[in-house]
């Protein structure tokens, strides 16, 4: 008795016990699913302690930045665009409503009312009659007349900080930026807003977008899809199997295997405290095809053999003897392919890989132990005409599939060279295609084109500077001046003071104090503090007419002390402006805002709104005075979004027109280029933050991680193949179909311009898992058959009987079974559906065409050992 039939004896003898045990374990693990915690935040693609994430959170905190829901209001019909009393009334009502939003179950999830950017929540500085400026709310209340509405328009459009951000340059749209405490509140905010909006009448159109909305909404819809697509795929697989095997009672067993594997795996995933992430939500879809593959092999074999053996027990024993080793190896290799994902630096992908691997091994166990039990539970009579169709029709009237396969066998044998030539040509073309692959992702594009979020994204980004945010943070590099250098600088500045030149005696007193202090001071800070204290003492004791001169000296000292406050320095501010201009020239950046824009705007308004004064004034003090003027507004803290209160760090708020990672990468590259070609006037470090940037970082990690995972699992699988076949040549042969399939699939991706995104990347592991399956089955059986026939030309005919039929059925069942995914409104699901079908077709064909052709050409080398064994 061989290992296969030996192992299943327990199941054959105690089918009820085995079945009950399986059901109980599945129920136990399945019950854990209720503990599910969904996490749709792509930020979690990176570990929490990942440097860029830590920095992103630091930047958010330091500059009081929040994740934002963007609500766009558009009016294309009114001649004044959105600037009419009705629309502005809606805007006001909506923004007041938005401020009140809070999750009733979790007060921590709320809208941050104080940081809203809406017409009623931003301040403007503007002219208020001759020689007067005024700080006022852009829209203290909804306007009552057309005049008032137009006044709001002119005021907003005249403010560079608002134009292109809050209001569109064409006047047809207003964007309200609703900051939220956590991203997973975004979908709720969107729903509440939509409910409120449904009460409005008129020509206004409303659009809601922004990365948090896209990401959170995707999570919610993903859930729905999981509940629709996975069962639908299950039904499709079921119907196809019914078509092939015609025996309802038998094909239920692969369905049970799939269900058990999926339920137990998901239960274990959730039970072990993992969140249900975008990646892990796809586990059922990935697991199902692999889980049913083994059962289909068993069924197919059972189907073909039952009528000759006519005993379910002996048939199943025979089948298991035939298939045990290939099934073990296919499962191990598939599992290894997915387990290799644990090597990627992305936690959700790791969890995905590990649990799919677990599911595959579980499916194998269930297939080995439960399928025989199931067969035993069936009454022998009920199998009476199982597989009878084929037998009755006989070899003369083969089914279309069998006929096709017989022709294929002849073709591969006769045209082996041609096949290999075409294969090599295909490989070369594919490699060219792979070279053209565009690595890109964009969470908004996870929705299909006519999804409201996708539409909103398009409309709003056509009106505004961009609804995708990235933050470029410039930070002064601390450069401790030597005490001697500080000393010289202070003296030099002091000597340049008009106050000092007109009062040489005071100057010499001051210098004397400097010189005395420098003897004891250890560093620059200590030196300056000591000089300051001594000067203050001298000032207190001074005559009235000297008091102010001492104040001037002290100012000079403060300027030296504060020289690290580089973002008050006109040179630095102008540099920031140039950097912004350069960024804005890239097609991706619609607009950017910085402290420089604040300074320029205030400066202009202080000088009667004259456009010539829209510039950075010439001294640090003048800049400081513009900034302190700004702080007399209703929203002084608005400034701290752009600069820290110590003026050592500045944040450039970059608005991107699309969320494509490629766009972000382009901007990053542009900034690098600009900054190395144009060194800033002060030593600064620059770093990026913001969701759009974060996506780029994890994508990078994913691409390289996937590549490493794939190559390592490729090697592991190759080693396993060599061990299985005890031959390097056979092992290499087994790798051919999957290599060709992967090259072909990714080549096509490159050619059609489909972005290489998360699902596409993960599919390489699936390809590895599925394609190797077919090769193992095919080669293992080839060797078995060869041992009987001692001739490849005879063996190939047998190979294209049951073995090829099993592979073909598998290809068709899985490829067609996953077409329901194409109906999903979420692009990653469609992608998986299309590629699963393509992978199955390609690897099935590669196995059945290329392998026999190669064997034909290499038979001398391949069967050397077999001949020796058998002779």
């Amino acid at each position: 008795m061989k290992i296969g039939s030996r192992l299943i004896q327990f199941s054959i003898c105690h089918p009820k016990f085995v079945t009950t045990l399986m059901v109980l374990i599945t129920l136990a693990l399945g019950s854990l699913i209720v503990k599910v915690h969904v996490d749709t935040d792509p930020e979690n693609m990176l570990p929490e302690d990942e440097a860029v994430r830590v920095y992103h959170n630091l930047v958010k905190k330091e500059f009081s930045l929040y994740d934002v829901v963007v609500l766009g209001v558009v009016n294309e019909k009114d001649p004044d665009g959105v600037f009419n009393p009705t629309t502005l009334g809606h805007v006001q009502e909506l923004s007041e409503f938005a401020k009140t939003l809070q999750d009733p179950n979790n007060p921590e999830k709320r809208v941050v009312a104080s940081e809203m950017i809406a017409p009623g929540d931003v301040d403007t500085i503007e002219q208020a009659g001759p020689g007067q400026v005024r700080f006022q709310w852009l829209m203290a209340k909804a306007p009552a007349s057309r005049e008032e509405a137009l006044q709001i328009r002119d005021s907003a459009m005249g403010n560079p900080l608002l134009n292109g951000t809050l209001v569109s340059e064409d006047g047809k749209a207003i964007a309200i930026y609703i900051p939220i405490t956590t991203k997973d509140f975004a979908h709720q905010v969107r729903n509440e807003l939509l409910k409120k909006i449904s009460n409005f009448r008129g020509d206004d159109q409303f659009f809601i977008t922004g990365l948090p909305v896209a990401e959170d909404t995707f999570g919610k819809e993903m859930f729905v899809q999981m509940a629709i697509s996975a069962p639908l795929a299950m039904v499709a697989i079921f119907l196809l199997m019914l078509l092939f095997f015609r025996k309802l009672s038998l094909i239920i067993s692969p369905m049970i295997v799939a269900m058990v594997s999926v339920i137990a795996t998901m239960g274990l995933l959730i039970g072990t405290g993992n969140t249900l992430h975008i990646m892990s939500s796809m586990i059922p879809i990935f697991l199902m095809p692999i889980a049913v593959v083994d059962s289909i092999h068993i069924l197919s074999e059972f189907f073909d053999k039952y009528q000759t053996i006519r005993d379910r027990r002996r048939t199943i024993e025979h089948v298991l003897d035939q298939l045990f080793m290939p099934m073990l190896y296919t499962s191990l290799t598939s599992a290894a392919g997915f387990a290799s994902l644990a090597l990627t630096p992305i936690p959700p992908v790791q969890a995905f890989g590990i649990f799919v691997a677990f599911g595959i091994m579980l499916a194998w166990l269930v297939t080995i132990f439960f399928t025989p039990a199931y067969v035993m539970l069936l009454k022998e009579e009920s199998l009476a005409n199982f597989g009878v169709v084929v037998q009755k029709t006989g070899p003369a009237k083969k089914s279309w599939l069998a006929a096709f396969l017989a022709r294929l066998a002849r073709f591969t044998y006769q045209q082996a060279k041609l096949i290999i030539f075409i294969t090599v040509a295909t490989l070369l073309v594919s490699l060219y295609g792979i070279d053209k692959i565009q690595i890109n992702d964009n969470p908004v594009k996870w929705f299909t084109k006519n999804h409201p979020i996708r539409v909103a994204d398009k409309v709003l980004n056509s009106h505004f500077g961009g609804t995708y945010e990235a933050y470029l943070v410039l930070e002064a590099k601390e450069e401790a001046l030597s005490p001697a250098r500080t000393l010289a600088l202070l003296k030099e500045k002091l000597a340049a003071l008009p106050e000092a030149q007109s009062r040489p005696s005071l100057l010499s007193q001051a210098v004397q104090i400097i010189d005395e202090s420098s003897k004891t001071a250890a560093d620059s800070d200590q030196l300056l503090n000591e000089v300051e204290n001594n000067w203050l003492i001298r000032q207190d004791a001074s005559a009235d007419e000297d008091f102010e001169s001492w104040s001037e000296f002290l100012d000079t000292l403060a300027a030296v002390k504060n020289s690290g406050q580089i973002f008050k320095n006109p040179e630095m501010l102008r540099y920031v402006a140039r950097l912004q201009e350069d960024m804005n020239r890239s097609q991706v950046v619609g607009k950017s805002n910085s402290v420089t824009d604040v300074v320029k705007k205030v400066h202009q308004e202080l000088f009667a709104g004259n456009a010539d004064y829209y510039r950075v004034p010439d001294s640090v003090n003048a800049v400081a005075q513009c900034l302190i003027s700004f702080q007399n507004s209703h929203k002084p803290d608005f400034l701290w979004h752009f600069v820290t209160p110590d003026y050592t760090k500045a944040n450039i708020w970059v608005q991107l027109k699309n969320g494509d990672n490629q766009g972000m990468e382009k901007v990053v590259a542009e900034v690098e280029k600009f900054m190395s070609a144009n060194p800033p006037p002060f030593a600064v470090e620059h770093k990026w933050a913001g969701l759009t940037y974060l996506n780029v970082v994890w994508q990078d990690k994913m691409v390289t991680g996937m590549l490493e995972a794939f190559s390592s699992s490729f090697v592991v699988v190759l080693v396993m193949m060599v061990i299985l076949f005890r031959s390097l040549l056979w092992g290499l042969l087994a790798m051919v179909p999957l290599s060709v399939t992967i090259a072909l699939i990714y080549g096509i991706i490159g050619f059609i311009g489909k972005d290489y995104d998360m699902p596409v990347a993960v599919l390489s592991s699936l390809t590895l898992g599925l394609a190797i399956d077919f090769a193992i089955h095919f080669l293992e059986r080839t060797r078995m058959v060869y041992r009987k026939t001692h001739s490849w030309s005879a063996a190939i005919k047998d190979m294209f009987e049951e073995p090829a039929r099993a592979i073909s059925k598998n290809v068709i069942v899985i490829a067609v079974g996953f077409t329901p995914l194409l109906a999903a409104p979420l692009v990653p699901y469609k992608t998986v559906g299309v590629f699963l079908a393509s992978i199955m077709a390609a690897s099935g064909l590669a196995t059945m065409i290329i392998l026999p052709a190669l064997i034909t050409l290499l038979q001398k080398f391949l069967f050397k050992n077999e001949q020796r064994q058998t002779i």
Partner: protein, 264 residues
């Protein structure tokens, strides 16, 4: 027995309430007037050095140091303020000049030395930040007592608690505010502002009071903003009343050439 106790008690109650009637003589208007005078009109004029520390929700602090000069036309009447900035040093010599009127909008000027610019600031809205702090202009110069309806909420041991409801609710961000007025000094010791949802979101408090030249004077005050999580503390020193400041000091002319009083 029961009856007797009861009658004694009720007698006492009648007596007590009669007594409170006599003692609680000041009407709410009177209380408000006295509080307004105590807080903003001590002496004929006055001077103080103010050290302001602004702390944001992250605990980051910024400092302002300025000298404030004040002159009253008469108690409860028009006033002038001259605010001269000493620190931060890059805004030193920046001046704010306010002419406060009881019957119309204030006149406000700002002088920015390094832009060599005197600018009038429209004062239609006084609830804007004072130099980036959590204090509003109105906290510095006082809110016109006629702008609110007043209601005495509580006549406690130490404080009168007065609720103030704005007559023009659109012009302000609060729906009402309560003020705790010290019964002895009539200094407002605490003001608590409620937002449109009637929740407190802002509190201004006097943290220290000293007697200066016979005037109880707040020498330390704090404002907390619950919405942003920040606060500002002002400490007053070098306080002097009745310096005999000339009216001309509070004219536009003196913006560019500050009076000697601001220096020392």
């Amino acid at each position: 027995m029961m009856k007797k106790t009861f009658s004694v008690l009720s007698l006492a109650t009648v007596f007590l309430s009669a007594a409170t009637c006599v003692l609680a003589a000041p009407s709410v208007e009177e209380i408000i007037n006295k509080a307004n005078n105590a807080a903003y009109y001590a002496g004929k004029d006055g001077k103080a050095l103010v050290d302001m520390t602004i702390t944001d929700s992250q605990g980051r602090t910024r400092n302002r140091e300025f000298v404030i000069l004040r002159r009253d036309d008469k108690d409860g009447g028009n006033q002038e303020f001259y605010v001269f900035f000493r620190k931060p040093s890059d805004v030193r010599k920046t001046v704010f000049l306010v002419h406060k009127y009881t019957d119309k909008d204030d006149d406000r000027w700002m002088y920015l030395p390094d832009l060599d610019l005197v600018k009038r600031i429209a004062a239609s809205d006084k609830r804007t930040s004072f130099m980036g702090s959590h204090f509003f202009y109105e906290d510095v110069s006082g809110r016109g007592i006629n702008e609110d309806k007043h209601e005495l909420m509580e006549d406690g041991d130490k404080f009168y608690v007065v609720k103030n409801i704005p007559k023009d609710p659109v012009s302000v961000e609060f729906s009402s505010y309560r003020v705790w007025i010290d019964k002895k000094t009539f200094l407002p010791m605490k003001a608590e502002y409620a937002n449109k949802a009637d929740k407190p979101y802002r509190v201004v408090e006097a943290l220290a009071v000293e007697d200066i030249q016979g005037h109880p004077t707040v020498t330390k005050s704090k404002v907390q903003d619950f919405t942003s999580g920040g606060e500002t503390v002002s400490e007053f020193s070098n306080i002097t009343y009745d310096l005999g400041l000339d009216e001309s000091v509070f004219s536009e002319r003196y913006l560019r050439k500050p009076p000697k009083e601001v220096y020392r």
